[in-house]
Amino acid sequence: MTSSGQIKKNNTAPEAEHKALPESYGATEAALLPRDPNWMFIYWEITENSKKNTRSRHGQDVFEKGRQVIRVYDMTGITDGGAPTKYFDIAVMLEAKSWYVNVQEAGRAYCCEVGLVMPDGSFVGLVKTNTVNLPGGRVSDVTDEKWMAVTADFDKLLQLSGVEYIGKGSGEVAKSLAQRWEMLRAVFSRASSFGVSSMSSQNLQKPEQPKKFWLVADCELILYGATEPDAFVTVSGRKVNLNPDGTFSMRFALPDGIVDLPIKALSKDETDSREIYIKVTRATNTDGK
């Protein structure tokens, strides 16, 4: 029918598409990706062979004795071969295979290393990532002699440039249409469903009438885990859709109080199950100023 191919009436069988993705690629490696000024995403794979090597170098019980962590190095200003001096650790399980890493300081360069902190304080590195340069997320302090504007003018310019709209991008139309659709559905059926939301985004707003100094803070809860890709998993009794590699994650709003999160996994043949019960308590105190 066309140069690009015949329409084959009978060739509608799904090909390899239904197969799950490879669980691993047989290489010890890790990567770090920038998400926003304060968040990065790391994924890693550590092969059995690498673990064996680590055991033979550092002792058979090294994985039992060591605390499993992501070591986050500040690489700002460090050139090839230089050793970073600033770092902090995040406790993880090696089986998690991926993690969102929060950093306090935006606008800096970071690199991560997954490894073990031993009882004597020494660090056994297992796998290291690339370096990521995070954006600063604010107006630069650097000015340009040739193109200088006075500060008051610059503040006005920021306003004119729409600084207040930052981050309200192209999702907007899709969102407003979706909202309208929800409105129509609600008018129609009087039904609305509020369930476990994987994207509860609470925007932090600057106070309406800005005082000289201000602070806003909030927190959310990220739950994640992994199991067999074909398992049936529930969180708080609701079914969770697993990613093709068997991992899952959810983000929750976290109001003050106690949140119970029973997590259950049932194997595909329904002969085996596992449960993990997480209880989170949040209490917020503000000084009221």
């Binding site: 690009s4 084959k8 600063g136 920021l158 407003s176 129509l184 008018v187 991992t247 899952f248 983000r251």
Partner: protein
């Protein structure tokens, strides 16, 4: 009297759809995205360009037509299927005019008949099925500036390898040359996602400018003297234009934006659901399930249920579009006059939108643009419409600033494309890129079946890189389809990779996926070689 203007307006429309083409099915649901956008946005835009030109109304507009879209527009199979699509719509529209002769829906039924006849006329008689020639015609006249985009709308800040960035840009530039007969002057980075330093790969392809979301410029360093109202040069010398939020919000905003006017067409009330089943069935997909067919008879009406919507009045809606265009122009005049006084320089206001907003989502949006072009040409003197190339010709003196990493997505950075719904993709995608680079380096001069296999590997990798898959997973629409697509390209790549490395190529397998994923017929897998990327970075 050429210099009376107080500033410039650059209107930029980003036209893009992921590459969706399924020869293995006779009839495929998601291919409709392309056909709908053809009928509602791309051809109607050409229609107004034709009319404005015939009337002698000068206008300027910048449009990205992404490589996947170019490849779909030029594809024989999709062209055939598009003919089937609009012919069926026209057939139904003609029946509908008769059925609605004495009803309140007569005018709107007439509107669709006229519309689909015009689509047929433009598509067949004007452009002979090659609508890229239509766009090229207006580019050659200097009224339209067509820009490119990453080869498959790849999201560059989440790529680990420079070879991948280079491949996305180089394939795009080559594809552009093939369709438009010269190199691209500008590019729309997919999702306006900018990673500092990637601009060197633009420069290597002769690309002179790209676009950024507002904070990409105003968080740049050093501080940009004119905010987003003048472009800046990256250290590489490529110019970056920043988005004006005031004009963006005027159209987008959920509360106050134009598209929500109650006299405009209601998107969610569609003949696919409204008509008697047996009557509409021939116009549905083969599975017979009721779905939107793109013909809608009601106006938004107000905050009422779908069953209380009033008939759409095309003449009334057109008048509203004209008055919205007048309002938009008035606001730009005031904005530009104010900025001119404040900055001491003629500002350039860059208004950037998804092209499909006009016509597809906002049905009257194309009318709005036509009125806007006319009003700006006839009714005012303070605004001059420009393309970015024209602006850089008039004002080559711009500040050097390193823009900040940014995107135009929700929250301004990479989260839309990197969150719990889609982060699992990246380890697979990165592995494919790594393997592709390995293959390109290992086989500098392959030929025969091996060459075809390597080229197909490169097609599968770039198809998997589309930012669309991650986006659709985040917003939750077509999540199954996007997941399937990503998984399919991963499998096809991995299958070929193993066959190549094991020296056991299966001709049948290769042939089958060449037939399915035929984007970039002129693909040369060497675009992924380290040597090429390094050469580009040094240029």
């Amino acid at each position: 009297m050429a210099n009376k203007e107080k500033g410039y307006l650059a209107l930029v429309l980003h036209a893009h759809l992921p590459f969706i083409r399924h020869p293995e099915y006779e009839d495929f649901l998601e291919e409709d995205w392309f056909f709908e956008a053809m009928c509602e946005t791309y051809i109607p835009l050409l229609d107004i360009y034709e009319r404005l030109t015939a009337e002698g109304t000068d206008f300027r507009v910048t449009m990205s037509i992404t490589p996947p879209l170019c490849n779909m527009m030029a594809d024989d199979l999709l062209r055939e299927r598009f003919r089937r699509y609009y012919s069926l719509r026209l057939e139904l529209a003609e029946k509908e005019v008769i059925r609605n002769r004495n009803t309140g829906f007569y005018e709107v039924a007439k509107m669709y008949e006229t519309k689909f006849r015009r689509i047929r006329e433009l598509y067949e008689d004007y452009y002979h099925g090659r609508i890229l020639d239509g766009f090229k015609k207006f580019q050659d006249m200097g009224k339209l500036e067509i820009i490119t985009c990453g080869a498959t709308h790849g999201f560059l800040p989440l790529e680990l390898r420079k070879e991948a960035v280079h491949a996305q840009i180089k394939l795009a530039a080559d594809d552009y040359r093939k369709h438009f007969g010269r190199g691209p002057r500008g590019i729309w980075l997919a999702e306006c996602a900018y990673n500092p330093g990637d601009d060197v790969f633009l420069k290597a392809q002769g690309i002179r400018y790209f676009f950024l979301e507002t904070h990409g410029i105003i968080y740049g360093s050093p501080r940009p003297r004119y905010g987003v109202y003048a472009p800046v040069y990256c250290p590489s010398g490529v110019a970056a234009f920043g988005r004006d939020m005031e004009s963006a919000q005027q159209v987008w905003s959920a509360e106050t934006g134009y598209p929500g006017d109650h006299r405009y067409r209601e998107f969610y009330r569609d003949l696919g659901y409204d008509l008697e089943y047996d009557y509409v069935k021939p116009y549905l997909h083969q599975d017979g399930v009721r779905r939107n067919i793109g013909m809608k008879y009601c106006k938004i009406t107000g905050k009422v249920g779908l069953n209380e919507k009033a008939p759409y009045n095309p003449a009334e809606a057109r008048e509203v579009a004209a008055s919205h265009a007048g309002n938009f122009m008035f606001n730009r005049e005031r904005q530009i006059e104010h900025l001119n006084g404040f900055l001491g320089r003629k500002p350039v206001v860059v208004s950037m939108y998804d092209a499909e907003l006009y016509g597809h989502w906002w049905y009257e949006g194309v009318d709005f643009l036509e009125f806007l072009f006319k009003k700006i040409h006839h009714d005012q003197k303070s605004i001059k419409m420009v393309t970015p190339s024209e602006y850089l010709g008039i004002h080559p003196d711009n500040q050097v600033v390193q823009p900040s990493m940014s995107t135009w997505g929700d929250k301004g950075y990479n989260e839309v494309w990197l969150n719990g719904t889609n982060d699992w993709m990246y380890r697979h995608l990165h592995k494919q890129v790594e393997r592709m680079v390995e293959l390109a380096n290992k086989f500098p001069n392959a030929d025969g079946a091996l060459r075809r296999a390597l080229n197909q590997c490169a097609r599968e990798v770039v198809l998997g890189m589309s930012s669309d898959w991650a986006f659709l997973m985040t917003v939750g629409t077509a999540k199954n389809y996007s997941t399937k697509r990503f998984v399919a390209h991963t499998h096809r790549f991995n299958g070929l990779y193993e066959q190549i490395m094991g020296n056991r190529l299966e001709e049948g397998f290769l042939k089958d996926i060449e037939w399915r994923d035929n984007i970039f017929p002129e693909m040369n897998y060497r675009v992924f070689s380290t040597e090429e990327a390094e050469k580009a970075a040094r240029s």
